[in-house]
Each structure stands twice: as C-alpha cells, then as structure tokens.
C-alpha cells in the first residue's frame, strides 16, 4: 500500500534530492530546450494492472515525466477494446495491453517492453471459485455461473475458453450463464462475494491482491492454473516515433536501477521491465487461432 508518508517522501525526493537519478533530467532539459513545449506522452492503461490507484499513477507519471523530460498522461478506459481503438487510431502513444489484443494486431503495434513478474516476463490464468465452494476442477462448473474479465483478455477470457475446447466442451454452452466484469479485480470480487460460481483471472492481479488485500483473495480458491504466457506488454502505437520509442524503452528497462523507480515497481508488484520479442506471445496467438477455427467449425 502506498501510504501518505511514502507519497510525501517520494514527492520530497523528486523535488529536492540531488541524487543521481535527477541529473539526466537536468541534462536532458538542457540539451532540448523545447522540452516544455513538447506534447504530452499519452500512456494508455487497461485493467491488466490494478489501475484504480490514482495516487500511485500520479507518482509514476511524475517520475516518467522527470525521466523523459516531457509530460506524461495516463489515459484509462474501462474496457480493453476502447484502449485498443485509441491505440490503433493514434489517440495514444503507447498502452499497457493484454497479450491477446496484441497478437490480434501484431503487425501494427511495436513492443516497447514486457514487465518481469516473479523473475520472468510471464504470467498465468487462474480459474478461481469461492473458498467454500465444492468445485475442484473446471469441469465441475458445468451449468454454473461464470464470470469473464473482458472479451479481449487472454487470462480472463481466451485461456479458459481454450481450456474448455481442449476438454471437448463448447465454451459458449458449457456454463449456465456468463457475464463480464470488465476488470480482474472485479472478477476476484465477484467470486469472493458469491455473485458467480467461478471466474478466470490474471495470476499477476490475483497475486498482487493476495499481497495487498489478502482478506479478499482468501475468500477465493484457485482450481486451475494455466501454463505460462507472455505478460501483458507495453505496446507502441503505429505512429510512435522510433526515438520516442527508444527513449521510453530505455527508461523503463532501467527503472529497477533507480531508487524511486524501484519503489514504484514494488508498488506494482513487478521486478522490472524487459525487452520483448513478439515470439513471447506465440502461445496466445496459437490459442486464438484454435478458438477461431473452433468457432468456425
């Protein structure tokens, strides 16, 4: 949790500390006198992370601004698709999106970086049920209520459907009723509060919640862990200038070297950012393809 004290300390460091991380900004600003006039970097966020913590996002934006020497604006939307639309149509410079929409638009988008979570740039999909529910496997949920996170989510939609298909089930008819929660946190809440019998959720979000709000995750139980998939990446818009891309990538890849950056990463429950190859998301692409063919047949 980011407390008020942390916040003040961070702001204090940003403002007056003469420590090393400040210098690049100073020199950057000196090298580029037009820095103040440059348009803000538009950074899209989706519920792949816990994007509801405004104070933290402000700190991160402010840190990024110092590093980049230009304003950074986080733009949030409730649904993946809206961010994707903005990203593809030039409304954003980059966005933190899910691997599933990335593979769908691989050709147009560039990979900026991939977060490292628990030592590697990968995560899983969890299928969770209520802590006291009798279900032990995905097949037990037949005819039950099930919550998806977002139709453009890999962990919260694509993988569980793929798993059902693999088991010879029709993902559209297997459950009694399904609905979308439009966010992984909501998904965990929906299971914990008994709104649904089961749900699919991002392992990173679940684990982060388990660290931060253990009383919430304690009311859920994981009955299925997927194989590892590429972590939701930060993707650059089709129109993102290569120099900007390089600048952002450089800063992100070095964020874990910086004390404030380190703190911000801790808040995110991430180890850092890593360079990424499109091949990291081949598994997701294969699943998407399999489902598409499954639907067509």
């Amino acid at each position: 949790m980011l407390t008020r004290r942390d916040l003040l300390r961070a702001i204090g460091l940003l403002g007056i500390s003469p420590s090393g991380w400040c210098e690049p900004i100073a020199t950057g600003a000196a090298q580029d006198p037009s820095a103040g006039e440059r348009p803000a970097l538009r950074f899209g966020l989706t519920p792949v992370i816990l994007d509801d913590r405004v104070a933290f996002l402000r700190l991160w934006a402010s840190w990024l601004e110092r590093q980049l020497g230009r304003p950074v604006v986080f733009i949030q939307r409730a649904r993946y698709r809206e961010i994707m639309d903005l990203l593809l149509r030039g409304g954003l410079d980059l966005a933190w999106i899910c691997g599933y929409p990335y593979v769908q638009h691989r050709r147009e988008l560039t990979l900026v970086a991939v977060p490292r979570f628990q030592g590697q740039p990968r995560y899983r999909s969890y299928v969770i049920v209520g802590a006291d529910a009798p279900f032990t496997a995905l097949r037990d949920l037949q005819g039950r209520l099930f919550a998806w996170s977002d139709p453009d989510s890999n962990s919260g939609y694509l993988y569980p459907r793929f798993a059902l298909l693999e088991q010879g089930q029709d993902p559209d008819r297997f459950f009694g009723r399904t609905f979308f929660t439009w966010g992984h946190r909501h998904t965990v809440e929906a299971v914990a509060e008994g709104l649904t019998d089961g749900a699919a959720v991002d392992s990173y979000v679940w684990e982060t919640l388990a660290r931060r709000v253990p009383e919430l995750t304690r009311r859920t139980r994981i009955i299925l862990r997927s194989p590892l998939f590429g972590f939701p990446p930060l993707a650059g818009a089709p129109g993102l200038a290569p120099t900007d891309l390089q600048a952002i990538r450089r800063i992100l890849l070095r964020q874990d070297q910086d004390p404030i950056g380190r703190q911000l990463l801790d808040e995110l429950n991430l180890d850092g950012f890593a360079p990424a190859e499109p091949a990291l998301f081949d598994d997701i692409a294969a699943m998407a393809e399999r489902l598409d063919t499954g639907r067509r047949t």
């Binding site: 209520l145 009723r177 609905f179 979308f180 929906a190 008994g194 709104l195």
Partner: protein, 479 residues
Amino acid sequence: MSLTPASYRHRLPLSLSVAAVVTAVSMALALGLQTLDNLREDQGRNALRLGHAMSEILVQALLHDDVWLAYSLLRGPEKDAADATWILIDAGQRIFASNRPERFRLDQSLEAALPWLPVAAFSPDAPAPALVRSIEPQDDGTRRVLRLTLASEGGPVGELIALLSDRPFLARFREILVGGVLVTAAVLAVLLPAGWLWGRRMASPLMQLAACMARVGTEDARQLRCKIPESDSEIGQLGRQFSAMLAALAEKDALEQQMLQAERLAAVGRVAAGVAHEVNNPLGGMLMAIDTYRQGQVLDARTARLLDLIDRALQQIRGSVSALLVEARGDSRSLAPTDLDDVRTLIQPKLARSSVNVAWSIGLVSAVDLPAAPVRQLLLNLFLNAIEAAEPGGAVRVEVGTEGAHLAVRVENSGRPIPAEQLAHLFEPYPEQRPHAQGLGLWICYQIASQLGGRIQVASSAERTCFQVALPLGTEEVS
C-alpha cells in the same frame, strides 16, 4: 393482608412514585414507538429515492446485459451495512442482480427466490406506481417491499425490488431506547426521592392529627397538648377545627368537674347544716337543763365539777357544730371599705411575727351591697391561709375591687403549689390531705361565697397560688 398500604404516610409517596414511574415509562414507550415509526418511514422514503436514482443506469445494465454494472451499483459502497436487500429482475422475471448475490443468484426465477412475493403484472400500458408496501413479516425479517418498474422507451424492461427490514436501524433504535431508559432512570432518581419527601411532607400533618385524635378519649382533654398543623390547606382547616373541638371538650370537662364539685360541696353543706340543727336543739335543752339545775340547789363539790365538765363538753360540741354551720345571712350591714381595713388590722399581729411581704390593694371607695360580716370572714380566712402558705420571705398580694356587677377578691401567695389531687377536695371540711390544719377555713369561704351567690376558684402554678372570689352585687342572697 391488603396490597394497598393503609397509611397515607406510605400511600401518598407511593402513589407519587408510581405516577412518576408510569409517566416516565409511557413517555419512553411512546417516544420509542414514534421513533421506530419515523425510522421505518425514513427507510421507505430513502429506498424509494435511491431506487429512482439508480433506475436509469439499471435500465442500461438490463438493456446491455451488463450484470457487473447492475451489481456494482446495487452493492453500493458498504456491502454489509446496506439498508435493504435490492433485487433487479429482468423482463423474464429472473434475477439479474442483487446486493445479496449468494442468496439471490443470477438467472434464478423470482418465483423460486421469493415465493411469497405476489407476481407483478407487467403491463406495458400502465406500469404500477412505485410504492412501499407493508407485508407480513417474513422469516428473514422483511417487513416492507418496494417495487419499482423499470421502463425504457417501448415498455418495461425489468423491475427493481427492495426488501426492507427493521434490522438496519434496530441497533440505532435500541440505542435510542437505552438512552431514553437512562434519562428516565436519571430523572426518576431525582423525582422519586423528591416525590417521596414531598409525599411525606404532605402526609405528616395528617399523621400528627391522627396521632392527636387517637389520644382523645384516653387522656384528659384539658391536659392534651397536640402539635396541630398550621396551613391554609384543608388539613390546616381540619387542624384548626380539631383544636377548637379540643378546647370545647376541655371546657366541657372543666365545667363538669366544677359542677360535680359544687354539687358535692352543696350536699356536704346540707348534711352539715342538718346535723348542726339536729344537734343544736337538744344541745340547747341540755345546756339550759344544766343551768337550771345549778341555780335550783346547792351542789356538792363533786356534782359541781361533774356539771362543769358536762357544760364544757357541750359548749365544745356547740362550738364545733356552729363552726360547720356557716350563716352568711342575718347581717344586714353593708360592706364598707373600713371593714376591709379592719381585716388588715386584725391580721397585723400575726403579720408582724412572719416575714411575709404583703401587697394590699383595695379598690373599694364606698360601701357596696353585700353583708359585711361574711365578706370580712371570707377575706380574713383567705388572708390567713395565704400568709401561712407563703413561706418566710414570701409574698402575699391581696386585691379587692368591683368588676362590673361583682365584687372581686383576689388573694395570691408565693410558695409551693397545691398538688392536683388536693385541689379537687380543697373546699371540703377537714380535708384528708391537710390533717394538721384546722380544716374549716376554706370550707367556710366556700359556704359564704355560695350563699352570697358567688363563686370561688383556685389556681395553683409552680410559683404562686391564687384564690379568686366573685360575689354578685345587689342581688338577693341565695341559699
């Protein structure tokens, strides 16, 4: 044993206390019920307002099949403290969302979830107006139901139901009730002792009166000294009436006593007079016979001595008898101031021997219409008695004067009081209590006063004894 205490000493404070308790309890109860009513009304109004506020977004959620939107709206910010159970029903009468998702499952039919709820008639023409209705209390505590038809253009799309129970504000109600009870108890803690004291104060004059009345009849009314409540209230009036009654009673007792004494003395007088006459007649004959016998012949010495002895004895008898027989009549000389001075002169030798201080006050300027001799005798006797009773160094005060149509004689002396039991027999001849006194002085005084139609009274206090004689002037003597 009777349940109601008989005495006002308990009954009055008790009824005050009971009145205070009953008032306090009924006030608390009335306020509590009113509060409960208000809380329920507020709850209904709030639910209706909230339902209307949410309806537009809920319609959207229904139209877009967005379960999470509806749920996140209904569950509100405080999931567990929610005032009501909210249920959103779709057009197919199936549950779409509820803030109690574990009980009201998505897609469950309303009929299965709430069998007691009457099926709402979904009429596209006239949607039922939203209102809160009271129902039979259900097992889950539901007492009121709000039903709000959600309509979009083109007709109803669902219904919002709120199940309202008393549970959310029971704690608050209990707090109010406990607060009321505490305040009531605090007020009673002040009121009860005050009421008790006040009741006792109100009852205490009655107690005094009752205690006093209880003594009437067992004690002599004249000796009865009671504390009578003084106030203008009815009890005060009662007290005054009672005092007046006591006084009348005392007066009557005194009068009876006086009459009894007068009657007794009159009877004694009649007996004495009768005996005296009976004795005097033969006595006269005997004395005359002795006299005749002496003159008729020469007596030897022995006979002469015998006759002298008989003569002296008879004379003594005559003296004693005539002392008993007081004759106030027969002397027609009127009483003059000089008669009174004579009395003083006669007393002078005796006075000189004693060291008694005499105050002599004669208010008589001319002769009055009273026989002189008996009045002189009366004054003399009283005066002598007074000097005797006043111990050496004491004082005697004599006053004679006319008061209206009476001659008033007052003889007062200092000294020991006359005991009450002696007072009752003071005017009788040879009283038992004064064996060494000659015994006829006061008897004679009484006889004189009675025969002159007057009264003689004695009052004896710790320091002085006073004889008071009133003799009517100018009236015929009575026997």
